[in-house]
Amino acid sequence: MFEKGERKKYKVQSGGRLLSLLMFLIFTIALAAQPQGFKSLQNEKAFRESFTAAGKTVSSIQSDFVQEKNLSMLEETIVSNGKFSFKKDNKVRLEYTTPYQYLMVINGDEVVIKDDKRTNRMSAKSNKMFKQINGIIVDCVGGTALGNPNYSIKAFENKGQYALELTPLSKTLKEFFNKITVFVEKSDYSVARLEMLELSGDNTVMKFTNKKLNGTLPESLFLVKS
């Protein structure tokens, strides 16, 4: 079908196009691999030091949150609201108030879950999933995320925020999540948003608002009566 020269020319053109296509794809994938509007960190070492140092200055956090659960194939979003509290070293209270009541309190090694019917207590030590999910929250708000062996981390930035992409390495986290992205305010290193991309293709976004850093939080906030 082709003359000898034509065939060679065609192959070269074809190879060139293939190379261009590959480069375009690599560039697109590289762009897609980072959060939209974010670029790779200019000075990752400085960020790591600042993030860790800022974490050390945070003793408590209180905020409201909005959780959006996006069911991709159903094209549905379930929105819930609640209050979040964190107190160093390892105390977390996540209270959903609407449209359902659900309370999760992590106090050291104990995890308490309470809904409108009952209270369940379990050990975070014996429950790997809770231990590691607890780990994400505590690591992100406490500034220790960068050293956690349960996930690999890539850091990006835009004008106002850092984005930490956590890729789970542990089997327990891998069962639920493809990737967790934590958006951190540059101004005070507090967490503005968490995006959890699941294996199912669904995702959950938690947005934190009305943040109060280093206020006095009573111990009773992290104690749940049965």
Binding site: Q67, K69, L71, M73, L74, E76, I78, S80, L94, Y96, P99, Y100, Y102, M104, I113, D115, K117, R118, N120, I133, E175, F176, F177, M196, E198, L199, S200, G201, D202, T204, M206
Partner: protein, 208 residues
């Protein structure tokens, strides 16, 4: 003679134990054919706050039912904090498991959930089979699927669906109780397995 009597008593007890739990019911007369199917639920989207008790362990979450554009019904269970636990699709007798976390992805678990949810959605519950029965409280409409029968229990006027029971030839296996409904999913429901400790409690959060 005494031995023979004991043996016969034992046989009678065994036969009684193996007989249908619906054997005592009377044949219903003057029942409009297809009236139970007219009570099947029609819905866009419903979200339930859900509690599950399984052999002494508890878990909770949100169960979302949605009718898709092609008429299929989806059932998605998520934890309150976000992660999806399972995502099943029902369309007539067809069942598709879109997603299930590894810990729960066991044949027996998926099959049990499939049957329970198909009964509640009344999707692929089987074909009307056998006579409509009655007692003083209910009309019993049988829908046969394999070796099991789903019994839809209505009032005597067949205006409201009052209960669903799933049974083999010899045992009631699952009972789903809820307030009376007409062409809708119930506001609350309790799915109880009779042969092992497994119950699902549903309270509607949002209706569509």
């Amino acid at each position: 003679m005494k031995n023979l009597s004991s043996f016969l008593s034992a046989c009678l007890l065994l036969l009684a134990a193996c007989s249908s739990p619906y054997k005592h019911l009377q044949k219903a007369s003057n029942v409009q054919s297809g009236c139970a199917q007219q009570l099947f639920p029609v819905f866009d989207k419903v979200i339930y706050d859900t509690q599950v008790d399984i052999v002494g362990k508890q878990l909770s979450g949100l169960l979302i039912f949605k009718t898709m554009a092609d008429g299929s019904k989806r059932a998605v269970f998520t934890s309150e904090t976000g992660p999806t636990i399972f995502d099943f699709e029902f369309k007539g007798d067809e069942f598709t498991k879109h997603f299930c976390i590894e810990k729960m992805d066991r044949k027996v678990v998926v099959k049990t959930l499939q049957r329970d949810l198909s009964l509640l959605l009344m999707e692929g519950i089987g074909e009307p089979g056998g006579e409509v029965l009655q007692d003083s409280n209910y009309l019993y409409f049988p829908f046969k699927k394999g070796k099991e029968t789903a019994w839809l229990l209505t009032d005597h006027a067949c205006k409201e669906l009052l209960r669903i029971e799933n049974a083999s030839n010899t045992d009631k296996k699952t009972i789903i109780s809820f307030p009376p409904i007409q062409n809708a999913l119930p506001d609350t429901a309790l799915i109880e397995h009779q042969n092992f400790n497994f119950a699902i409690r549903l309270v509607k959060l949002e209706k569509g």
